[in-house]
Subunit: 155 residues, 2 copies
DNA sequence: GTTGAAAGCCAGTAACT
DNA sequence: AGTTACTGGCTTTCAAC
């Protein structure tokens, strides 16, 4: 489906604040409330908007430690990869995971309360997977930026 | 401020779906609507909930390409780092950026529509910064996982 | 913490251009 | 696509417990 400039405007606003009342959103984009409401509904129905969430303060909710883990698999086989992906998706410590090109096969961003929790994660998730050849961990000293916003190029 | 189990329950629900009506949220956590409403308000006021956003489909909104860029700075000086952090925060292509220990100083997750856009990003952001000694880019073949959820250990 | 009530605002629908 | 008109339901606040 094609997005016009009003759609992009709506998305731009909602991806910053989705608690804005439809009446106000409508005014901001220059539509009547029902017309705006219909567009938002369509954007949800067509999976342009895939979720609506509250963002929690990681500091205040027990994710004080962030680590970056690069993983190299034993074999480049689909089953091996798929199994790893399944594990990753079930591990709540893993915030982001990318399959990448280069020396390593995956990079993960891991969030935990403390080093003990990370050790547990390593033991339970990484050391139990026999398909992992090796992994390398970097400690994050600071999250410089973290956003869910995507760029919506206006035309 | 201390979070009790009801708070954690509320947060756990809202960080998955913040469009749930307060009446329903109240029922799910076993409180009356006003009591639940008060708690949510407090969680926002105290910055436990730091934002409420719609998550957009990156595929459908022009962020088809994800890259991981590791950056090594020329000098380990605060001003140099701070300048880089400022640039990173203003660049909409940068979704996440972590200051890390190890061989590199920063790792960034960059989202762009295509390779051309990435080249522009490299030219405008990375090559113009004389404090960057070098950087290394990995292409993400697939986003295995990406979540905003934090773990809320229940007691 | 609860219930009950009240006010007003909003979401969501309908009918129509 | 868009509008205006409507209504039922919800948020939000209050008072009393």
């Amino acid at each position: 489906m094609e997005l016009d400039n009003i759609d992009r405007k709506i998305l731009g606003i909602l991806q910053r604040n989705n608690r804005l009342a439809n009446v106000e959103l409508a005014e901001e984009v220059g539509l009547s409330p029902p017309a705006c409401h219909k567009r938002v509904k369509r954007l949800r129905d067509e999976n342009i908007i895939i979720g609506d969430v509250s963002i929690l303060n990681p500091e205040l909710t027990g994710n004080k430690l962030t680590l970056l883990v690069s993983v190299e698999m034993e074999r480049d086989r689909k089953e091996v990869y798929d199994a790893f992906k399944r594990v990753v998706n079930q591990a709540p410590e893993v915030k982001h995971c990318y399959q990448i090109t280069g020396n390593y096969d995956f990079v993960m961003v891991v969030g935990v309360p403390d080093m003990q929790a990370f050790e547990r994660f390593v033991d339970q998730v990484l050391h139990t997977d026999t398909n992992i050849r090796k992994f390398q961990t970097s400690v994050s000293l600071r999250t410089v930026k973290s956003t869910t916003e995507v760029q919506l190029s206006e035309f």
